[in-house]
């Protein structure tokens, strides 16, 4: 039985935005980059920070805090760029960098330990969340990053979250 459980475990990368913890399946992560100069692309959606040069290719960079309705990422020593591959329309793979405050750690989460996504609050927010995971110290929101990044809207994730925390 024990081995079976382990088979269902997935690795997630935990990162911090403001005071909240989020997780993305490591399969989605190509690499983690240190903060670098981002070339602004004027007149783009406000959450699109701009583009960076990554080994001769142009990589779009998104401010995840703006996207998730949590203000703006303040550049500090720990700020970094998570390079992700997401599945776009027509099943095309899109590479995108997201700015996060801090990358925490990579943990294994077994399927049984994932709590269902909160159904409190507006329904459309919970569709961007795979589920919740309760670490000893912190509550982590597992994100459906493909869906989240592909909408043009700003999704106020933390409003929802605070409600869950309160429950």
């Amino acid at each position: 039985m024990a081995t079976k459980k382990q088979q269902k475990a997935d690795s997630f990368i935990i990162f911090k935005l403001k005071n909240e913890y989020f997780a993305i399946n490591v399969k989605k992560v190509i690499r983690i980059l240190e903060m670098q100069k981002i070339t602004e692309v004027p007149e783009s959606p406000i959450y699109m920070k701009g583009v960076i040069n990554i080994r001769g290719d142009i990589l779009p960079v998104l401010d995840s805090r703006i996207k998730f309705g949590m203000g703006e990422v303040e550049i500090t020593m720990t700020t970094c760029i998570l390079v992700l591959k997401i599945i776009g329309s027509n099943n095309k793979i899109i590479k995108i960098g997201i700015l996060v405050d801090n990358v925490d750690e990579v943990i294994q989460i077994t399927e049984q330990n994932i709590l269902p996504p909160p159904n409190i609050g507006e329904a459309y927010k919970s569709k961007y969340i795979i589920g919740m995971y309760n670490d000893d110290k912190k509550l982590i929101m597992l994100l459906d990053i493909d869906k989240l990044l592909l909408t043009n809207e700003i999704i106020y994730l933390n409003e929802n979250k605070s409600e869950i925390v309160n429950v």
């Binding site: 100069k37 692309v41 004027p42 783009s44 583009v51 960076i52 001769g56 329309s89 899109i94």
Partner: protein, 675 residues
């Protein structure tokens, strides 16, 4: 095998294209024997390879079609419209068979219709063929297959070769090592076959389309001599030997059997013919070789690999630029020299790689010749289609994306332009309409002009329609040219009728958009009753663009050079007086676009600004930037889907110091500001 299949499809497509081309010629010259022979060979080769790759239905129908051409060559039937249509249908059928699953329902139905049509023709000359059916009896041949030394490097699968030969009938194969002097030039093994097959003698050579000096076929008998036990025993004896079979000796043995056989079988008539077979075959080899021999100086490369190469070249250029910067800051003679060398080499590689991507316009012309033919037939119009300068080369990406707009242009010409023959005669025009495509180079651009001598565009009708649609005001004064250009407006259409061909009212708009997408321009001019000219101006290549590097609020931007008309400067004071929105230049209004206000946070304390004048639709616009830095050869990269809503930029390029400059899409930017 998959790889071979792709190769096969590529080759087969070449064959189909050339067959189609020959058909177009044959249509105007129904008795041209050379063309007939050439189409026949094409069909034959398609049949052969289709059989080899298990496209059974294709092979079957090819065989039937081929029979028609055999009959034609034997003067049993004359080429007519019907036959030509059948071959066209066949070509289409084969194309579809390659792109779809062979078993698909539609294909099966198509195959059946085609077969029925072929059979109808076949019955016309069937009687004649029946009388010669004796050719269908089994004969025995000797085949020597001795490949060249580099055989195994050519990617030919021996098993495929064998299966081709062995599929033709009853065979005995001998595998022997090459000996003596031949070992220097020939493959270390060679093969001998005794084959019994009912393939007509005159076709036997073509059934095995290998290099002519690698294969030798000799007829041994007009009957199946493997049935003869004595002969079989003789063959078995030969098998134990490592030497080449002595044909003369073998033949002596056969003649004995043969004379007996002849008494039994009366069917064998074509006795005199057999003596001839060697020379006969030799001629055929030459023919086969001429069709299978594509220019050996060319090799085909996967387009994807070319794209990759371009990617590496752009990295090389970026690295080169970085080294240039370093060599300028560090004064070291050796380094400077090396950097200069690198500059030269990378420029050569870049030019070379770009040239590799260039393909002649001719490569898509066939499609249009066919289109013009089919549509004019359908609409009972008579049209002569002429091309000139189609050897003009363009980047493959551009050619690929050009096919659709060109298609619309041709459709418009046929559907709306060229009149039916009766109408043309009434107008005093020649019965046949003309459509001409002319391509040429002009100062770094390629110009394609399409002209038809049809009705032309009536500016009054356009005007009326435009007013109806609310595109212009009823009292608006416009030149004839301006009116005609209105047909590029989205959803503008002069026909109310929507046919399957054109007239959906999106045609001209799509044409313009598609051509703009490849950074081209399109222009139209027309004269009532004289016809219409469509002129397309295209860049040679898309991947590398000559640009001007400018600085706006500490960020780098690029402006495509071909759109810049001139540059100048302006002081802050002049720019800010009356909050200037436009300049007057030679009595023309030049709108001012302050990119310094639009892009990024504006710098304070600047005294001078630079102006870059760009053209859009023959009108100048003044872009205000902070600084002009200089020329930059930009390797353009897309910004990607995440920025798809941002129309200001058409891509980005990496500069020598590995920073990024965004390429301003001035056309879209101005359009957005105007609206």
């Amino acid at each position: 095998m998959k790889k071979y299949l792709q190769n096969f499809k590529d080759e087969a497509n070449k064959l189909l294209n050339s067959t189609e081309e020959q058909l177009l010629l044959l249509e105007n010259d129904l008795i041209n024997e050379e063309l007939i022979a050439s189409i026949y060979r094409g069909l034959h080769t398609i049949k052969g390879v289709a059989g080899m790759f298990d496209f059974k239905n294709v092979a079957k129908i090819a065989h039937k079609t081929e029979n028609i051409f055999i009959a034609v060559q034997d003067s049993k039937i004359a080429v007519d419209e019907q036959i030509i249509s059948i071959v066209y249908d066949f070509v289409d059928y084969v194309r579809e068979s390659f792109s779809e699953e062979e078993g698909s329902k539609i294909l099966q139905i198509q195959g059946k219709i085609l077969t029925d049509n072929i059979d109808k023709i076949t019955t016309i000359f069937q009687a004649n063929i029946d009388t010669e059916n004796d050719e269908k009896i089994d004969k025995t041949y000797y085949i020597l297959f001795q490949p060249d030394i580099n055989f195994d490097e050519r990617g030919i699968n021996l098993e495929t070769v064998f299966s081709v030969i062995e599929s033709k009938g009853e065979t005995i194969r001998f595998e022997k090592p090459t000996q003596g002097e031949k070992i220097i030039t020939k493959f270390y093994l060679f093969w001998e076959y005794i084959i019994v097959t009912n393939i007509p003698e005159k076709n036997i050579a073509e059934e095995f389309f290998f290099e002519k000096d690698e294969i030798k076929i000799v007829k041994l008998s007009d009957s199946n001599i493997l049935k003869n036990k004595k002969f079989k025993k003789k063959i078995e004896e030969l098998n134990s030997s490592q030497d080449k079979i002595n044909i003369e000796e073998l033949k002596k043995n056969i003649y004995e059997y043969k004379t007996i056989k002849q008494k039994d079988k009366k069917k064998i008539k074509l006795h005199t013919k057999q003596q001839q077979n060697e020379t006969d075959n030799k001629e055929k080899y030459d023919l086969i070789k001429s069709i299978s021999e594509y220019e050996t100086a060319r090799i085909s490369v996967n387009a994807k690999q070319l794209d990759e190469l371009m990617g590496f070249v752009s990295e090389l250029i970026t690295t080169k630029e970085a080294i240039n910067i370093i060599s300028e800051t560090i004064t070291n003679n050796k380094l400077t020299q090396l950097a200069e060398n690198l500059e030269k080499i990378s420029r050569n590689i870049q030019n070379n790689a770009l040239n590799m991507r260039l393909i002649p316009l001719e490569s898509i012309m066939l499609k249009f010749k066919r289109l013009v033919r089919d549509l004019s037939h359908k609409q009972k119009k008579e049209i002569i289609f002429k091309t000139d300068g189609t050897d003009t080369e363009l980047d493959k990406t551009i050619i690929d994306r050009l096919a659709e707009p060109l298609m619309h242009i041709f459709r418009n010409s046929i559907d709306h332009g060229i009149e039916p023959p009766e109408e043309r005669i009434k107008l005093g025009k020649s019965r046949k309409g003309k459509i001409k495509l002319y391509a040429s180079h002009e100062s770094g651009n390629v110009i394609i002009q399409i002209h038809d001598d049809g009705r032309g565009i009536n500016p009054e009708l356009i005007r009326k329609k435009a007013i109806e649609k609310g595109l212009i005001k009823s009292d608006e004064k416009l030149s004839k040219k301006e009116i005609i250009k209105l047909i590029f407006t989205p959803r503008f259409s002069t026909t109310n009728k929507t046919t399957s061909i054109s007239g959906r009212g999106i045609g001209m708009d799509i044409i313009r958009k598609k051509i703009l997408d490849v950074r081209g321009e399109v222009d139209i001019d027309s004269e009532v009753n004289l016809g219409t000219y469509v002129t397309i101006k295209l860049p040679l290549t898309l991947s590398i663009v000559d640009t001007l590097l400018v600085m706006i609020n500490n960020n780098n931007y690029l402006i495509p050079k071909h759109l810049i008309s001139r540059v100048s400067k302006i002081s802050k004071k002049d720019l800010e007086t009356n909050n200037k929105k436009a300049f007057f230049n030679a009595n023309k209004i030049v709108p001012v676009i302050k990119l310094i206000d639009k892009f990024g946070e504006k710098q304070q304390n600047k005294e001078m600004y630079q102006i870059v004048y760009v053209l859009r639709k023959e009108k100048n616009y003044a872009l205000i930037v902070d600084e002009i830095i200089g020329d930059h050869q930009a390797v353009l990269k897309p910004l990607g889907e995440m920025f798809s809503s941002n129309k200001n930029f058409s891509g980005a390029s990496i500069l020598g110091d590995s920073s990024i400059a965004l390429m301003i899409d001035t056309n879209k930017l101005i359009k957005k500001i105007n609206s």
